[in-house]
Amino acid sequence: MNVVLFIIAALILVGALATVCVRNLVYCALSLAATFAALGMLYLALGAEFIGWVQILVYVGAVAVLIVFVILLTAPDRMRSVGPLFSRSRILGVGVSLGVFGTIAYAVHKSGSLKGSLSMPAETDMQSIGEELLSSYLVPLEATGVLLTVALIGAVLFAREEPVEGSEESQESKD
């Protein structure tokens, strides 16, 4: 089991590094998709079937495809390269990501889940996820629904001014 987890972790790392380091926009997007897929595999390996497949469906099937679509639409000429890997403007980016990483690492460390053995929760099945979603988490669920609807309408409104990119905008918001 551990070996599988390490292989997946390695995949995720390689994919993420490739996303940032590769100088070809399309390769970046595809590495991102691979990273998402590996993340889905991680969930599956940990026994979270539902989340795992949702991860693949939403991130690989929709988000990555949209990123790719946007690349196709916006930068046909610049697709092959996106400037040098190291430049001064990257310093800010490195700072921000280090900050985010630090915060998360601190939170994980604080929560204590790294100490002691991690107890596997009982197998969750679809039924209980559904019941939880529609009982305890009903309000957040509905709020998310409203938010997405607002985003959808907003996207359509934006698209109105630019009829050409309209159809793609409205698809973007379905996620």
Binding site: P76, D77, V164, E165
Partner: protein, 379 residues
């Protein structure tokens, strides 16, 4: 129509526009035709037709060949309708040299011309639907019927497509035994086939959606651009050379000219169907009334024809529009000037106007609805 400067300024400003070259090798340009299209997403912003890939020096060749020697060359203009090409050329030479045509020959010419129109329109329907993405179903239905007509041509002239049938002052050979009966049988069968095609196509929701409101040409614009044939009549202009000139013996037949109202691809497509019914009326009457007599004016000189100096223009209603031959004679054995007015080329002039603002997929349908043959466009 968007002016050229305007389009160029757009293409300089925006990176969104995509230049795409449809043809000369492309599945649906009906030969070696090329369209340089500028696309904004799926919408056509600009479209430039490029032709000449099939140029074979037809007119200049004709000026170095004897009058009779040109007859087989005319077969190769619109290679789907060699008989009407023959007729238009024969008509202008007859005008130039003042040759009379016997009655039986005139009837044979009408019969072969209307058969040509039928087979051309049948093939047209198939190709148009192919351009819309039917996997050759309608095309092969059309070709099944066209084949019977080509068999008729073969038994009459010896060739299926390159007929070389007309001569100055008549036709090359008389009908073989049983030909008229066979032709009658086919003309009696065709209305059923047309019913079938009409039933399959005219109410098909996707065909309607793909053709209605696509590539609309108003009547006035069509006249100004010099369009002729079904493309012009689809815009509601009543102009048919068979009625206007009554060349041959067309004034003896009772037929009407179908006219559209909107001038879009659907009208152009429907007009062909309706025209085929009218052709069948003419054919039926002509086959019944076919008089006996000589098939060629015995006084007409075909070989070594040296018409008196002068000029003549003969035009007929070919399946694609007004096909004209303009000839100038200097009393020698070859035409001094030989000029073809090809309906396919002239009908193409409005292609950009029809296509701008439409989707890429419409371009193909519009081109198909004009019904061009590259052999005639490029000559």
């Amino acid at each position: 129509m968007t002016s050229t400067e305007e389009v160029e300024s757009i293409s300089e400003k925006s990176e969104r526009l995509l230049n795409i070259s449809m043809g000369p090798q492309h599945p649906s340009t009906h030969g070696v035709f090329r369209m340089k299209a500028v696309l904004d997403g799926e919408t056509v912003v600009k479209l430039t037709p490029v032709f000449g890939y099939l140029h074979r020096n037809h007119e200049k060749l004709a000026e170095r060949t004897s009058y009779l020697g040109n007859m087989p060359y005319t077969d190769r203009l619109d290679y789907f309708c060699s008989l009407t090409n023959n007729w238009a050329y024969a008509l202008s030479v007859e005008r130039l040299a003042g040759i009379e045509v016997p009655e039986r020959a005139e009837y044979l010419r009408v019969i072969t011309a209307e058969l040509t129109r039928l087979q051309n329109h049948l093939a047209f329907l198939g190709f148009l639907l192919n351009d819309m993405g039917v996997w050759a179903t309608v095309l092969i239905y059309g070709f099944r019927e066209r084949e019977k007509i080509l068999d008729l041509f073969e038994s009459l002239t010896g060739a299926r497509m390159m007929c070389n049938y007309m001569r100055f002052g008549g036709c090359r050979c008389d009908v073989p035994d049983g030909w008229v009966e066979e032709a009658k049988r086919i003309t009696d069968e065709l209305p059923g086939v047309l019913d079938e095609l009409e039933q399959l196509l005219t109410d098909n929701e996707i065909v309607v959606a793909r053709t209605q409101g696509v590539g609309t040409v108003p009547g006035r614009k069509a006249i100004n651009a010099g369009l002729t044939g079904p493309v012009l009549r689809a815009s509601g202009v009543n102009y048919d050379v068979r009625k206007v000139d009554s060349y041959g013996v067309y004034d003896r037949f009772d037929f009407s000219v179908p006219l559209g109202s909107v001038g879009d691809c659907y009208d152009r497509f429907m007009l062909r169907l309706l025209e085929m019914r009218q052709s069948l009326n003419i054919l039926k009457a002509a086959l019944n009334e076919l008089p006996s007599g000589p098939i060629i004016n015995p006084k007409a000189k075909n070989r070594n024809l040296r018409p008196p100096a002068g000029e003549a223009y003969g035009r007929i209603e070919s399946p694609k529009g007004e096909l004209g031959f303009y000839l100038v004679s200097d009393k020698s054995g070859t035409p001094y000037r030989y000029r073809v007015r090809p309906p396919s080329l002239v009908n193409l002039t409005l292609l950009e106007d029809m296509c701008v603002g439409q989707k890429v997929a419409d371009v193909v349908v519009i081109l198909g609805s004009i019904d061009i043959i590259l052999g005639e466009v490029d000559r």
